[in-house]
């Protein structure tokens, strides 16, 4: 097996398995660690800009990737979205929200490295994950330069290859060869992205699962039944 095959044929499943099982185990076993670990209480300076840019950016990117890569090619065509339109939407949305995310993440990294109060509570994994995300988004932004090149040449093949590969992973019929001819920068971005999933359960990212939307509509009082065993 080549490194390429491993990285894009096996590693996605390792990352995915760790991601799913890890989150499940942590959710069941470590309820008291299931939190965002916000440090905003310690220092709120510049957080309105940094945190919002980062979060808006990354949420948009997440859904952009989700929709853009997982929607079957035929559906786009059926909706009348041509490959080139698809490509330009991806580039523009990627640049805008990737830019948001980049500025936000960079601010957060600087804050985490320089603010004494935040430094005092930072653990290795906190420093690691924000830097990792910054690198990932930076790589993602760099890929748009290549994508613009492809788009200018009316060549959607790389985009289609990437989507096909993602879909092959999702449908458990992975085909690493789909990525054989894409630019290395894409591969690097993909590797960093997959690794985010790998480390996800071990970081504060788990809070993503628990967006407290339920509070909007929940009942005022919840009574959890105490089950008494009767022999």
């Amino acid at each position: 097996m080549t490194l390429h095959d491993f990285a894009f044929g096996v590693y996605p499943y390792i990352a995915g398995t760790v991601f799913l099982l890890g989150n499940w185990m942590r959710f069941d076993r470590e309820q008291y660690t299931w939190k965002a670990d916000s440090s905003q209480l310690l220092s709120n300076q510049g957080m309105r800009m940094a945190s919002n840019l980062f979060h808006v950016g990354i949420i948009a990117i997440f859904f952009g990737h989700l929709v853009g890569l997982l929607t079957p090619h035929s559906w786009f065509l059926a909706m009348g979205v041509s490959d080139m339109t698809h490509q330009w939407i991806a580039i523009i949305a990627g640049l805008v929200f990737g830019g948001f995310c980049f500025i936000g993440a960079l601010s957060l990294v600087i804050r985490r490295m320089t603010n004494e109060r935040v430094m005092a509570v930072s653990r290795t994994r906190d420093n690691f994950i924000i830097i990792w995300l910054l690198i990932t988004v930076t790589l993602g932004l760099i890929t748009t330069i290549y994508s613009i090149g492809h788009a200018n040449n009316n060549d959607p093949s790389v985009m289609l290859a990437l989507a096909s590969w993602v879909q092959s992973v999702a449908t458990l019929s992975v085909d690493a060869s789909l990525l054989a001819n894409v630019d290395p920068i894409f591969k690097l971005h993909i590797f960093f992205g997959m690794t985010v999933f790998l480390v996800f359960p071990f970081t504060r990212l788990v809070h993503v699962w628990s967006v407290p939307i339920g509070y909007l509509g929940r009942a005022y009082q919840i009574v959890r039944v105490k089950k008494v065993k009767v022999n």
Partner: protein, 1247 residues
């Protein structure tokens, strides 16, 4: 079930709804709750408590999980009180409940620590082949080496060490000191044994065995009210808190019940439910004010004036306008009011002189035994002067008449209170007065009898009552136009007069005085005053206290359940004291120990006397004979030492071991010979008392042990002087100290000495300021890691500290630590010391015949040629003690032979204790090691010691109660056996109290009783068993006739304003031109700590500001632009302290309140003025001793450890307060440079 799977059932999770859909029922997983359950799950529960700091004496459940202490909770299993009385349980407060934090906290001392530079020096010397003692001597002989480690005290630099090495160094240092300077240059300080008595005893036993000094604490803390010994001959005895419930009228002043008596405060609330009226006299809106029906916010320090005014009303309404039968009978029997006093002629005026005595009459009135010590009353029945039973003259040398039955010479009598109706004449008597603008004396008309004494002298005599009524300013129609009404503000001690002084309305004072007395009249004495530190910490605390005691005695309250005084601060109710003292002071091996009065000790050794700005002359009364006029306060103390009144440590300017050697070389064969030799040498001046040249190097203290205490970070009044002179550390003393040059009895050295101590050892479980300034810190077991005993005066139970877990890391219990040191000391002393003889200078002791040393209270100074120095009469007693140094360890671990040979005793009552020693040999086993104590009962383990204490004490062994009460009955001629009869068979052991706290047995040690009828109350046996108070007259004394008492105007209680200590007069240039305040510095106890413990506890820190702070009133703050939480500096000549300010309506103007004791280990920045660490509450105080507290050899005014002595008052102090801008706060976080190390004083201070 899984939380995750629950989520998958999102749409079916609602099983039912209620409240119209506002509530839902689910079956979600509830395992998360186990986290909370596990927090409180435990493997075992062990009974323990908190052993020092707090006199609450609460029993606690300690919960242990996985070998660690998880938490603690209040015990609720105290034996019940009695029917119709609330119980003591549960006891405990937020502070105790947070103690377990310390066990595993960052403060915990895990290993022995030593100053790095010191251990390097020592190892270098040892590597050269020197033995430990030689190595230590070599370091001390080289000033540069010595300064290299003493100079960095308080600046960190500790390294982890081995037990073996540090105990070797400690032993070597002790041995070197004994050899070179004398054993009395070693000193130990530890407070309040009652809270963990075995730990206390560990250090004091070791130190006593090697001849070191053991310092008092109760007087040093200024928790001892000297008024109590003066008036009652009793250190302090107080009611248990349950007795508040029996009261019907309570005045509270100076004791913040819910704050500092948290576990007891419920009795005050319950008492109110029971109909009791409560009057509060806090100057500030203190927490206890909320309990009160009436708040009389008295100006701080003027309580005496308020109580004198209330006494004025009570005396007038119930003794003069009418004679309340109960009050009159009480006054006659139990107070000195009927005692006759000779009026003394001073030029053209008369003043009150000494008590009339049997010896003033022909043939001593038939009293051959101690006639100078028997006071006189006029008997209404026989219409003649008689000698009533009970005065101190009856206590010694005869039996059966030392009682308070109304008898004289076996005839029934009725003492006359006033001679108003059978006077011979009326004379003018001058009383001293101290309210500046009103003149320095008061002239009052007094009815008197004329009497010709045996000496032929013709004198006027009158009763204390007649004098006292006049002094209170009550008009009796004798023509001196005294107070015509309570509104007469020109006559001192009327309510209107007191209103001017105290700020309390005259109507409130009048009404409270009347109600207090009226209630006592109706209930036979169920009126009570609860009082404490806040009124005792003043220089003239005696006056505050005696003002209260007078009121109580006028109203027949003292000794009655529900009545009397309830003084609560730093109390010292070591219930099994009789069993404990022999072990604690090594009395089972050798006597006497070297007890020392700490206030005097620190005043001299920290050179605070060099800065004395209070002139003793300014304190003298206008009526003073003042033969020591011109003397400084320090001079008075030197006089008191040479007259045998009060102890001196070290005794002489020579090693006491050398003195004995020289005496023997000069032919002395026994103790008497050594004593004669020493007297000659003192007369010739070849040997001098050490305090006459206290700054000479041979008189410096050399080794200091501090255990169970935070001496430096908390109780060091004059903290910066400690740092400068005793320790040689960075200090903030802000003046040069030239005032001491005026001393006449103390030699002056231009250059003040620094770093007197060679070695300071701190034994502690946490690293506090004391540890930071020590050279060696030994890790001790916490209160949950050892066996010990605990008693308090708040409740009548004895209960244990016990081992919930083993001492963590390398810590050991105090008993084991001193055992380890004793062992090393014994080994090293084989070659260096061997057996030696040591001479101990003992002051005349209270509760012994020595208290009859100096009749009539006249001062006879042998050095002034008034008399010869006679040990035990006009000078200290010189006792020779043989010290077998290499046997120190053998002695430490076993109960020694003197318990059989000399028996045991307490408060002048002796008994045989053979049986108890035999029982202990069985209970504890005997020593099998080949040491001096082989075959004797073991004290090797902590539990052995607990059991030995309890077996030998009447409070915990009914048989001993029987023996001691039988001896007491012989003295009084009254059968007291009913007091203990029901419990004669009881023997309480350590394991009994581990099972449940036990109520103690009534013992002659104490003046209250344990019974089913009454709660414990002070002086109960004096009133109900007719056991005399241990005073000159045998009764409570309104009047003090000692020469110095009269000189300083304290014959009768008078109002004396706070003393101007003058430390705030120099405003530093940098502060002069900016807004600043001068505030009275008040240091009460905190809600979030008890002393310094707990204040650094994370749990407590989160409850308030998490660092040092003091409180200032809103108006004061506004006047200098202070806002809440600003940084401020308080500064005066003594030093500076930096804190945040709490601006609050609670505080009256003119005062700053800094809670005792926030120390240097949490968030204390540097002071901009001194350039040193910002200090503690005592950085701005300095102790000032009072000559009347030095008196000795005179009945109740005789020395006993923690009973009488100078007290470390600190509330008369003022500070300059100014704001520090946030940007100017300097945390001093810079490396230690040679320049910084060399600069020990603040800028501009050179000496």
């Amino acid at each position: 079930m899984s939380h995750f799977l629950d989520r998958l059932k999102f749409f079916s999770k609602v099983k039912e709804t209620f409240s119209k859909g506002h509530g839902i029922v689910t079956e979600e997983n509830r395992q998360w709750e186990d986290t909370y359950r596990n927090r409180w799950r435990h493997d075992k529960v062990v009974r323990s408590t908190h052993g020092v700091n707090c006199t609450g004496g609460c029993s606690w459940k300690i919960f242990v999980k996985n070998g660690l202490v998880a938490y603690e909770m209040q015990q609720t299993d105290y034996p019940r009180t009695r029917e119709d009385l609330p119980n003591h349980e549960p006891r405990g407060c937020q502070r105790g409940a947070s103690f377990s934090w310390y066990l595993y906290s960052p403060h915990r001392i895990k290993y022995p620590l030593i100053r790095g530079r010191l251990v390097d020096l020592y190892r270098t010397e040892r590597a050269l082949g020197k033995d430990p003692v030689e190595a230590w001597a070599a370091i001390q002989a080289d000033p540069e080496k010595r300064a290299s480690y003493t100079g960095v005290r308080g600046l960190g630099g500790f390294v982890r060490a081995e037990w073996d090495e540090v105990t070797e160094m400690i032993a070597a240092s002790n041995i070197h000191t004994i050899k070179k300077w004398g054993p009395d240059r070693i000193y130990g300080f530890s407070p309040i044994p009652a809270m963990s008595m075995i730990s206390y005893a560990a250090g004091s036993r070791y130190l006593s065995l090697i001849g070191a000094g053991v310092g008092s604490f109760y007087d040093w803390y200024c928790d001892l009210p000297p008024a109590s010994p003066q008036v009652w001959g009793e250190q302090t005895d107080v009611p248990e808190s349950a007795d508040w419930y029996n009261s019907k009228y309570i005045i509270v002043c100076g004791a913040n019940l819910p704050m500092t008596r948290t576990p007891d405060a419920h009795f005050a609330v319950e008492s109110r439910y029971n109909g009791t009226k409560i009057v509060s006299m806090a100057p500030d809106y203190a927490e206890y004010v909320k309990f009160a029906d009436l708040w009389m916010p008295v100006k701080q320090g003027t309580d005496a004036a308020a109580f004198l005014a209330m006494g004025h009303v009570a005396l007038n309404e119930f003794h003069i306008k009418k004679q309340d039968p109960y009050f009159t009978e009480y006054a006659r029997k139990y107070t000195d009011l009927p005692m006759q006093v000779i009026l003394e002629t001073q030029g053209d005026r008369l003043t009150s002189g000494r008590f009339l005595r049997a010896s003033d009459f022909d043939n001593n009135m038939g009293e051959d035994n101690n006639p100078e010590w028997k006071t006189i009353v006029y008997d209404n029945k026989s219409k003649a002067f008689v000698v009533p039973n009970g005065s101190v003259g009856f206590r010694w040398g005869e039996e059966g008449k030392w009682n308070l039955l109304e008898q004289a010479n076996n005839n029934e009598t009725e003492a006359e209170l006033s001679c108003l109706n059978s006077k011979d004449t009326i004379v003018d008597v001058t009383f001293p007065h101290f309210t500046q603008e009103e003149g320095d004396s008061l002239v009052r008309k007094i009815p008197v009898r004329e009497l010709k004494l045996a000496s032929g002298e013709e004198v006027y005599v009158t009763s204390v009552f007649d004098l006292q009524v006049a002094q209170y300013g009550i008009d009796r129609g004798l023509g001196d136009n005294l107070a015509t009404s309570y509104d007469d503000e020109s006559i001192p001690y009327t309510p209107a007069w007191a209103a001017k002084v105290t700020g309390v309305s005259a109507a409130d004072l009048q009404r409270t005085g009347f109600e207090f007395a009226d209630n006592a009249s109706k209930t036979r004495g169920k009126s009570m005053v609860i009082l404490g530190a806040a009124i005792n910490h003043w220089y003239h605390n005696d006056m505050n206290y005696r003002g209260i005691m007078n009121l109580l005695h006028m109203c027949g309250c003292v000794g009655q359940s529900g009545g009397g005084w309830a003084h609560y601060v730093g109390q010292e109710k070591l219930r099994p004291q009789a069993g404990w003292a022999p072990i604690a002071f090594g009395l089972d091996w050798q006597r006497p120990p070297r007890h020392t009065a700490s206030t005097t000790y620190w005043y001299f050794h920290t050179d605070q006397w060099r800065y004395e700005r209070v002139e003793a002359d300014s304190l003298l009364a206008s009526t003073a004979k003042g033969r020591y006029r011109g003397y400084q306060l320090a001079d008075y103390n030197v006089v008191a030492q040479r007259l045998g009144w009060t102890p001196s440590m070290p005794h002489f300017d020579k090693n006491p071991i050398e003195i004995v050697k020289e005496a023997e070389a000069a032919g002395a064969e026994d103790e008497a010979g050594v004593s004669d030799y020493l007297v000659d040498k003192l007369k010739s001046g070849d040997v001098n008392f050490a305090y006459e040249d206290i700054d000479a190097e041979e008189n410096h203290p050399r080794n200091l042990f501090v255990w169970r205490s935070n001496l430096i970070g908390c109780s060091s009044k004059g903290h910066e002087y400690f740092l400068k002179h005793l320790l040689g550390a960075q200090n903030g003393v802000m003046s040069e100290g030239t005032e001491g040059a005026a001393c006449k009895e103390v030699k002056w050295h231009e250059k003040s000495p620094i770093a007197k101590l060679d070695m300071m050892v701190d034994i502690n479980f946490r690293l506090n300021s004391t540890g930071a300034y020590s050279d060696i810190i030994l890790p001790t077991a916490t209160w949950y890691e050892k066996a010990d005993l605990n008693t308090t005066d708040m409740h009548p139970f004895i209960h244990p500290l016990s081992k919930a877990v083993d001492p963590a890391w390398e810590s050991r219990s105090d008993w084991q630590i001193f055992k380890t040191i004793a062992k090393k000391f014994s080994e090293l002393s084989e070659t260096h010391l061997g057996k030696q003889k040591d001479v101990v200078a003992l002051p005349m002791q209270h509760d012994t015949p020595m208290a009859l040393a100096q009749p009539f209270g006249e001062v006879k100074d042998w050095k002034k040629g008034d008399c010869e120095p006679v040990p035990g009469k006009t000078a200290p007693i010189f006792k020779v003690v043989e010290r077998d140094f290499p046997s120190t360890y053998g002695k430490y671990i076993a109960l020694g032979p003197l318990m059989r040979k000399l028996g045991n005793n307490i408060k002048g009552v002796d008994w045989n204790t053979d049986k108890e020693v035999d029982e202990l040999a069985t209970l504890n086993g005997v020593i099998t090691e080949d040491v001096i104590s082989k075959g004797m009962p073991s004290l090797s383990e902590d539990v052995h010691v607990c059991d030995a204490v309890m077996r030998m004490a009447p409070e915990t062994n009914g048989e001993v109660a029987h023996k001691s009460w039988s001896a007491q009955s012989k003295k009084t001629g009254i059968d007291h056996s009913h007091l203990y009869k029901g419990r004669q068979e009881d023997k309480i052991t350590y394991h009994d109290i581990v099972a449940q706290p036990r109520k103690i047995i009534t013992a002659p040690t104490w003046s209250g009783i344990e019974s089913e009828e009454v709660s414990y109350n002070a002086c109960y046996t004096n009133i109900h068993e007719h056991i005399p108070l241990r005073t000159l007259t045998g009764r409570a004394q309104f009047y003090q006739d000692h020469e110095w008492m009269l000189d300083f105007g304290e014959g009768f209680c008078a109002y004396k304003p706070a003393v101007d200590l003058q430390a705030h007069k120099n405003v530093p240039a940098a502060i002069k031109d900016k807004p600043h305040l001068v505030l009275n510095w008040i240091t009460p106890h905190s809600k979030w700590g008890i002393h310094s413990t707990y204040q650094d506890n994370l749990r407590m820190l989160t409850l308030f500001r998490g660092g040092p702070y003091f409180w200032v009133s809103e108006e004061d703050a506004k006047s200098i632009g202070l806002q809440d939480n600003d940084w401020v500096e308080a500064i005066n000549d003594n030093g500076a302290t930096v804190a945040r300010v709490v601006v609050s309506q609670r505080v009256p103007n003119g005062m700053a309140i800094m809670y005792h004791a926030q120390e240097k280990n949490v968030n204390v920045p540097g002071s901009n003025t001194t350039g040193k660490r910002g200090g503690i509450l005592n950085s701005v105080t300095r102790t000032v001793p009072k000559p009347t507290h030095m008196i000795g050899g005179y009945a109740q005014l005789s020395y006993a450890f923690n009973y009488y002595g100078t007290v470390g008052s600190n509330r008369d102090e003022h500070v300059i307060v100014h704001k520090i801008k946030d940007q100017d706060v300097d945390w001093l976080e810079r490396p230690l440079t040679p320049e910084r190390e060399a600069k020990k004083n603040p800028p501009g201070i050179n000496n």
